[in-house]
């Protein structure tokens, strides 16, 4: 490898990058240990005792949601594909209105710890809990892979480690620290990590945005012109269609993606579980309100960061860097503020991954311990102490899965993996959530058909999509850009990368069909669920319990 390529592989000062990250870990671990002192009840482990305020939870939601895909992925997509990258962020934001208007408050009033609490409320407990837990674990798993894949990609750029083994070690370190947060701090500790990370991420992005705009006399139009001049795509950078406008299939793919993005958020288990960390539905509403302001504001900043990276760093350098598109934002930071700013951004990018992975891990551990272990295996007989012990073990196992998955998923496209998680959430979770909250006639068969139908169809369509096999070979490398890089292996028959346009309507249809073909209907439980969901009567409020 020539020395020129070598210098391009790591920018900045790796020791500084590691130092800032280590500082973040030390400070947050200290806080986690401080807030998490004392013995923990199940309620404290899963929901932090439901004692967070709406504003705190809103900031934590932003910390949970603004993942590596948002920060690095969207900025990179805008830098390379211009306007089409911006489309992602709009779907990610508008989706919050589904959560605000239809889901957050009603979920808060009806459930206690997990998504399955609500879905199984008026249906047959065991089968619905198993189904809901299965799809919750599936969504969290894909989301987790995306984050860990992102961590691997960052390492090579930021720490100057281009050996595979060194990258795997860093992924393992991220995993171990995250397990520490979750096992020691439970939901309370995790929430604090997410809040700190959200504030740091938004503040740093704000500084980069102002700095970038300052270079262009605070004229956004001039910035766009500079991005156009630098990009090989020229003025197409400003127009939709660079990525999705090629032909009829890509356009349909884009509609399909848009559907999954807007309907997926309110079905993400790690987002739903956050609504249980506040005491009332009013605070849940406030949480989403804060989250919308922070997330929306952040995406507006990424528009400047993305075009700024195109203008100041240039697409060639971004593409040549390890991590490609994902390195746009860190490279812009280096261009503006040299090694110190790059160090700060790198530290925050790692913190981002750490906080999101911790949120996912606590969700999977709650799903496993509360839904599968207690309700299904022990038929609700486990003591809270036993449940927490199992949850901690599940967090440990989840962390190991995250580390192994991160190593295996290394090199996969982060934005794609996140889009896949959204597709499963929108197909398998959201139809059942909406039906059980709003449709009187809904019943167990409808829920099972919708969850398994949505989950199964999404996975099958992905397996037989061009994402897994059959994309044309890259003329330079001779390798297909599908997951299976051998161009001779091609078993795809579904034309789209994104399955949502088929799987989401199918899951809604199956939920309807299953319900109308089954006679089951529990009027008393429906009355209880509806009254509770709208009025908050009988809602669980652990903060007042002790």
């Amino acid at each position: 490898m020539s020395s020129v390529v070598h210098t391009a592989q790591s920018v900045g000062n790796p020791a500084l990058n590691i130092g800032i990250f280590a500082l973040f870990v030390a400070v947050t671990l200290g806080i986690v240990i401080k807030v998490a002192s004392g013995k923990k009840t199940a309620a404290e482990y899963y929901t932090g005792g439901a004692a967070f305020s709406g504003r705190q939870n809103g900031i934590a939601i932003a910390g949970d949601y603004l993942s590596a895909a948002s920060f690095l992925g969207i900025a990179g997509a805008i830098a390379l594909q211009g306007y089409d990258g911006f489309l992602y962020s709009i779907g990610f934001l508008v989706a919050w209105l589904v959560a605000l208007l239809l889901v957050a408050e009603l979920m808060r009033n009806t459930g206690r710890f997990t998504m399955a609490d609500v879905l199984s409320f008026r249906l047959r407990q065991r089968p619905v809990r198993i189904a809901a837990a299965t799809s919750a674990l599936a969504v969290s798993f894909f989301y987790l892979l995306a984050q860990m894949a992102g961590a691997g990609g960052l390492v090579s750029l930021l720490l100057g480690l281009d050996g595979r083994v060194a990258q795997y070690i860093v992924i393992a370190v991220v995993g171990v620290v995250m397990i520490g947060y979750v096992m020691i701090g439970g939901m309370k500790g995790t929430t604090w990590v997410q809040m700190i990370k959200a504030v740091l991420l938004i503040a740093a992005t704000f500084i980069i945005t102002v700095w970038t705009l300052g270079k262009f006399g605070f004229d956004f139009s001039t910035l766009l012109q500079a991005a156009v001049d630098r990009s090989p795509e020229g003025s197409k950078m400003l127009d939709p269609g660079l990525r999705y406008g090629k032909n009829g299939t890509t356009k349909l793919d884009f509609i399909s993606l848009g559907l999954a993005l807007v309907l997926g958020t309110a079905g993400l288990p790690h987002v739903l579980i956050r609504f249980y960390t506040v005491p009332t539905s009013k605070q849940a509403r406030k949480s989403v309100e804060w989250a919308i302001w922070l997330i929306g504001g952040f995406y507006l900043l990424t528009l400047v960061v993305g075009y700024g990276a195109a203008a100041l760093v240039g697409p060639e350098r971004i593409k040549a860097a390890p991590g490609a598109a994902n390195s746009a934002a860190p490279l812009l930071a280096y261009e503006l503020g040299g090694s110190p700013l790059l160090g700060i951004i790198s530290g925050i990018a790692f913190a981002t991954i750490l906080a999101v992975v911790a949120g996912l891990t606590i969700t999977t551990s709650a799903t496993f311990a509360h839904d599968i272990y207690n309700q299904v295996i022990r038929r609700g007989e486990a003591t809270p102490g036993e449940e927490v012990r199992v949850a901690r073990m599940a967090a440990l196992v989840g962390g190991v899965v995250a580390i192994v998955g991160g190593i295996l998923a290394y090199g996969q496209n982060i934005a794609f993996l996140v889009a896949l998680a959204f597709a499963v959430a929108a197909s398998a979770n959201l139809p059942t959530i909406l039906y059980s909250l709003f449709w009187k006639r809904f019943n167990t068969r409808g829920a099972l058909w919708s969850i398994y139908g949505g989950l199964g169809s999404t996975l099958i369509l992905i397996l037989f999509s061009p994402v897994v096999s059959g994309k044309p070979a890259d003329p330079k490398t001779g390798l297909s850009t599908s997951m299976i890089t051998n161009p001779a292996i091609d078993f795809h028959w579904f034309p789209l990368d994104n399955p949502g346009i088929v799987s989401i309507p199918l899951a809604f249809f199956l939920g309807w069909l299953g319900s109308v073909t089954s006679k089951e209907y529990n009027a008393a439980k429906y009355a209880e669920m509806e009254v509770r969901s709208l009025t908050g009567a009988g809602a669980h409020n652990q903060a007042l319990e002790h």
């Binding site: 911006f86 209105l97 589904v98 208007l101 459930g111 766009l224 209880e528 009254v531 009025t535 009988g538």
Partner: protein, 129 residues
Amino acid sequence: MAPSAPAENGREYGEAGSHGYEAVQNSDEFQDLRRRFRGFVFPWTAFFLVWYFLYVILAAYFPAFMSTKLFGNINVGLVFGLLQFVTTFGITILYVRWADREFDPRAEAIRDRVLGTPGNPTAPGGERP
């Protein structure tokens, strides 16, 4: 025993025993609350979904329109995209204001009746799901 204290199965508070909830559900006040809630959230959900997909479809199928320059390098697509932010923020403000002023007082009144203990919005205990 206070009327809000949970019974053995942890489900019955005040008038809301297993039949109590159905009585509450059938009451005029609750029907009115539900009508108001759905009357607000369903039309706004329909609006933002239509508005969002209008944007998505324009971006996918009418790129020429979206590429129309308005001033400088600012084109229709960028303004349309930013308008999605504006409507999202706007609907959020409208909903929160409506819920605080119109919805919460009515929901609280019914809740107090269900629980039988005014001023205590959240009964202890309750069913473990």
